[in-house]
């Protein structure tokens, strides 16, 4: 459900799975996905199979990994919107899904500076404006709230994707394990990050290229292997007298 965008058949597929396996509680998440709670472990492989066949991939909420890209409806449906923020969010998520990180990693794209997608408390946030895209980094809505730092402004979606890939890769190569972007940016300084990504075009392209290479083996849905039978016996209890 990239960018939070979904179709009636997506929602129907999710509802069918919830009905079929008696999911006790469901919830719409802050990252614009749908939670299912209270599932029995033994039901997981069959549920993953049904969801996988409906076109869904794991949301990686359990991982030190890219989570979701929150978006607003953008200029398609909002009179304030300046760009297609939903479409850009989907492209960003197609680029980054499945990537492992030093810690969890969240994206957002807001269609205008009113910032309905709360892009300025994300690890990498985009705020669309009439003349392009403002890129913000190092935000966090957690225990210690931190507003992003303004990285730069670019003019095209292609540039947003390149800067996102480069920033993500720099973070992965430079940060400590379990260090969110907010403390990382404060530790190393925004100046160093700007120097590596903004001032040095060659380095930015090299970082982005490395990110793309690493994504090739990373974008494999871990649910799917289990739905197809990996470690199937793990989900079946052994009963003794």
């Amino acid at each position: 459900m990239f960018g939070g965008l979904c179709t009636p058949s997506d929602l129907r597929a999710i509802a069918d799975v919830a009905d079929k396996y008696n999911v006790p509680e469901m919830k719409v998440t802050g990252g614009q996905r749908i939670d299912m709670f209270g599932i029995q472990k033994g039901d997981l492989p069959a549920m993953w199979k049904d969801l996988s066949e409906a076109g869904f991939v794991s949301g990686h909420t359990y991982g030190k990994a890219m989570r979701t890209c929150k978006t607003c409806v953008g200029d398609t449906w909002c009179r304030m919107g300046t760009q297609d923020s939903t479409g850009l969010g989907i492209k960003l998520e197609e680029l980054t899904w499945g990537s492992w990180m030093p810690h969890k990693y969240k994206l957002a794209v807001s269609g205008c500076p009113r910032n309905c997608a709360e892009a300025t408390i994300k690890d990498f946030g985009v705020v669309c404006v009439e003349s392009g895209y403002e890129l913000h980094v190092g935000g966090n809505g957690g225990i210690k709230v931190r507003v992003t730092d303004f990285l730069t402004k670019v003019e095209t979606e292609e540039e947003v994707l390149e800067y996102c890939g480069a920033f993500s890769q720099l973070y992965r190569e430079d940060a400590h394990y379990l260090e969110r972007t907010a403390p990382w940016v404060e530790r190393v300084g925004l100046k160093k990050i700007k120097k590596a990504i903004i001032d040095d075009e060659e380095n930015r392209k090299a970082l982005h290229a490395r990110f793309l290479i690493s994504q090739k083996p990373a974008q494999i849905d871990p649910w799917k292997a289990h739905a197809e039978g990996k470690n199937a016996n793990e989900f079946i209890p052994i009963t003794i007298e």
């Binding site: 470690n231 793990e234 209890p237 052994i238 009963t239």
Partner: protein, 105 residues
């Protein structure tokens, strides 16, 4: 002490994974470490009875999926600052078969 109970082939337990053994009284979690050692503990964290069998195995410890408590698989004792203990059971592996021994009253 009761006799050894035949549980399953070693290969039927995923490496760094677990299986649940259901007895009449309780669930027992059987773990396999990266070097193929087998441990069995009661499938309930001493903290809030989280299912340890669904946790993450590292070294000879398990991290509970509910609140990140770390339990030593050999002693059943909570590691670090946490205090608590879960039951442990004897295991052995012979000819690739895993055996479990459950004490009787």
């Amino acid at each position: 002490m009761s006799d050894w109970i035949e549980i399953t082939q070693l290969d039927e337990i995923p490496v760094l994974g677990s299986r649940v053994v259901k007895t009449a009284d309780e669930n027992i979690a059987i773990f396999r470490t990266s070097d193929d050692r087998i441990f069995a503990v009661k499938d309930a964290c001493p903290h809030k009875q989280g299912p340890l069998s669904q946790g993450i195995v590292h070294g000879t410890a398990i991290t509970c999926p509910l609140h990140n408590w770390k339990i030593d698989l050999a002693s059943g004792e909570a590691l670090g600052a946490d205090e608590g203990c879960t039951n442990v059971y004897d295991t052995k592996v012979e000819n690739n078969m895993v055996y479990l021994r459950i004490p009787v009253d």
